[in-house]
Amino acid sequence: MLEMDLALPWRRPVPQIFWFDKRLRVWFSAQKRPAPLAIVISGTGSDANTAKLSVLRAILYGAGYHVLTVPSPTFPGFIVAASSTGVAGDLLQDGQDLYAAIGEIVAHLPRKVRVTDVDVLGYSLGGANAAIVKSIDATEHKLHIHRAVMINPPVSLFSTIGRLDKLYAVSLGNGDAGIERFYQQLYAQLANAYRASGRVELDEDFLLGAAAAVLKTDKQFSAAIALSFRIALSNVFLAGDLYSGAGVVTDPAHPPKVGDSLEETAQSLRSKTFAEYFTRVFAPYYLKRLPNATVDSLIARNRLEVIGDQLRTDPDYYCLTNSDDLILDRAELGWLEKTLATRIAVYDHGGHLGNLGDRQQAADMLAMLDGRWQGSR
């Protein structure tokens, strides 16, 4: 497996505290013979080597693809190294940045690698990014992307994040008190499980094994999911605040320097919602940048409907999702089913990515990628 660290020419000046993110890090697994290339885009806030990407890499590599995994445009390493704005979360702008970055990466693949076809796929937010990247390629023709497969994609970014804010508010409450209470519960449960186990070291195996005993109720699971999205948001928020000069959590005149404590910034970001990111960082930045834009038009351009025509008419867009995925509501799932017609597989169970890599899901994904998909049976 090849790790590629790229310095991209359009990178903006790097804020000091992001000194380690200057290069875009991607991973490539090459077949020895000529093969199609599968480009896989990671989910919200994630890098190019997550456990979910490992699952997809193993499936795709096993099926004979060269596999290139790239981070989400909301991963801080991407925002710093490859974003032309530094303010992540805009589906079209992120798609443009991803498209340009993938172009550079493909141009630097080892010379002996021979690519017969190019497909793109992604999970969660990466699914929507994959579809946008293919739609950009349909006009620019630089990568010659053949098929795009979206795995558990959102339909409307801002409805999804609204739902995540709500999930957070319901499961953890607002402010620091909710997080502290949740942390105290987890700490006590973990300490009790550890004391009872008689182990001498609290290692990774114990933690993973104990997770099932520690997260006991649906509410605790919801809190853990909401918290993991909030942690991803805090990086996006901080980068956006620094790049746009919004000054919500940092002082634009005196940005934090290497070695400064970020404890207070982290604490203040813990209570910041996705909605706050939109209203205080994202919207002011894009309203200034895009002529004639309004708040409503910003929300509208972050729906998959912006490429609705392509999704409807181009037979090379596919989707795999679950009817109980928390990032979609009934209407959004209905829209996907209506738009993609037979090019969508909807499973009854799996939630958000819970069935990623399952036998049926993997087989369907491969069938879609090589054009054998005949519709759900």
Partner: protein, 302 residues
């Protein structure tokens, strides 16, 4: 010898200062079949741990498990959790050391460990790992004795004897096949058992996250090994080679990459997790005693 190591290190540091447009790092080849086998073994281990954690966490099961030999552990309550803050009075120095460690790891440590994983066959690496693990049994025997956990002293001593003889100088972990698990300990844990608090968070050059107490523990463990000088491994030029090989073996077996989170909050996150890990392990050492209630707003570790 030291001059040569210094020159090699300088070359590697310069090589690590990436200036080219694309840097390529080749990682060990994918071997899905081997990975599946390892994953299945890991999954079985995790299921066993999950089952144990789920059953052992219930008070009745705990009492049964103790079968009267030890009092049941006193339950830890949510209010016993330390605050979200961590005691870090040396933060400025620690942050500097963390950055130094990250750069050193990226330029030297990780490439060497990756090359070691790529080019040295798995059985040989397994032998090296077992060899170094076996050497740590000496510290374990001493420290389990100091901690008054004599059944563990006997177990570590038994492992050392079995692996040194049947395991050919520790190259094979034969004791594990007799279901005697490897559970090392050191002077840091002994201090914890004697009641010493973790103290300030401390990032040690090259070694990484620690606390004042654990730092003292590392120092005493090293001094003990130097003083005992088992098989003349800890003094003279060969001790440098041994130290480097041990470091490479340890790095090759740790699945951690500095700043892979991409987050500027990584220092805070690691500090938070490390200190809670220490405190939970401390709670495990004093199973029958209630956990001391933290004072409001007192940072964890103080």
């Amino acid at each position: 010898m030291r001059l040569r190591i210094g020159c090699a290190a300088a070359v590697l540091v310069l090589a690590g200062c990436a200036t080219r447009e694309v840097e390529l790092h080749r990682w060990p080849a994918e071997t899905p079949a081997a990975n599946n086998k390892a994953d299945i073994a890991k999954m079985q281990g995790l299921q066993a741990t999950a089952a144990a954690a789920a059953t052992l966490a219930t008070p009745q099961a705990t009492e049964q498990a103790q079968s009267g030999t030890e009092p049941p552990p006193a339950p830890v309550k949510p209010d016993d959790a330390p605050s979200l803050k961590t005691y870090d009075p040396w933060a400025r120095l620690n942050r500097f050391t963390y950055r130094f460690n990250a750069r050193f790891d990226e330029a030297i440590f990780l490439p060497v460990a990756t090359g070691y994983r790529r080019f040295v066959p798995t059985p040989l690496r397994g032998g090296v790992h077992s060899f170094f693990a076996n050497l740590t049994e000496v510290d374990s025997v001493i420290n389990y004795t100091l901690q008054g956990r004599l059944h563990r002293t006997v177990r570590s001593f038994g492992r050392f004897v079995i692996n040194t003889t049947l395991g050919i100088g520790g190259l094979f972990d034969i004791a594990a096949r007799f279901n005697i698990p490897y559970e090392p300990t050191g002077f840091g844990t002994t201090l914890a058992k004697w009641g010493m608090h973790p103290g300030p968070y401390l990032v040690i050059p090259l070694l990484g996250p620690s606390t004042f107490r654990e730092g003292v523990g590392y120092g005493v463990d090293y001094a003990t090994d130097y003083f005992i000088n088992l098989a003349d491994l800890y003094r003279g030029d060969q001790s440098w080679g041994l130290g480097v090989a041990n470091a490479v073996d340890q790095r090759a077996n740790v699945d951690f990459r500095y700043y892979s989170t991409g987050s500027p909050f990584e220092y805070e996150t690691i500090r938070f997790l490390y200190m809670r890990k220490q405190l939970i392990e401390d709670a495990g050492l004093h199973r029958s005693k209630p956990v001391p209630k933290p004072k409001p707003d007192e940072p964890a570790g103080k």
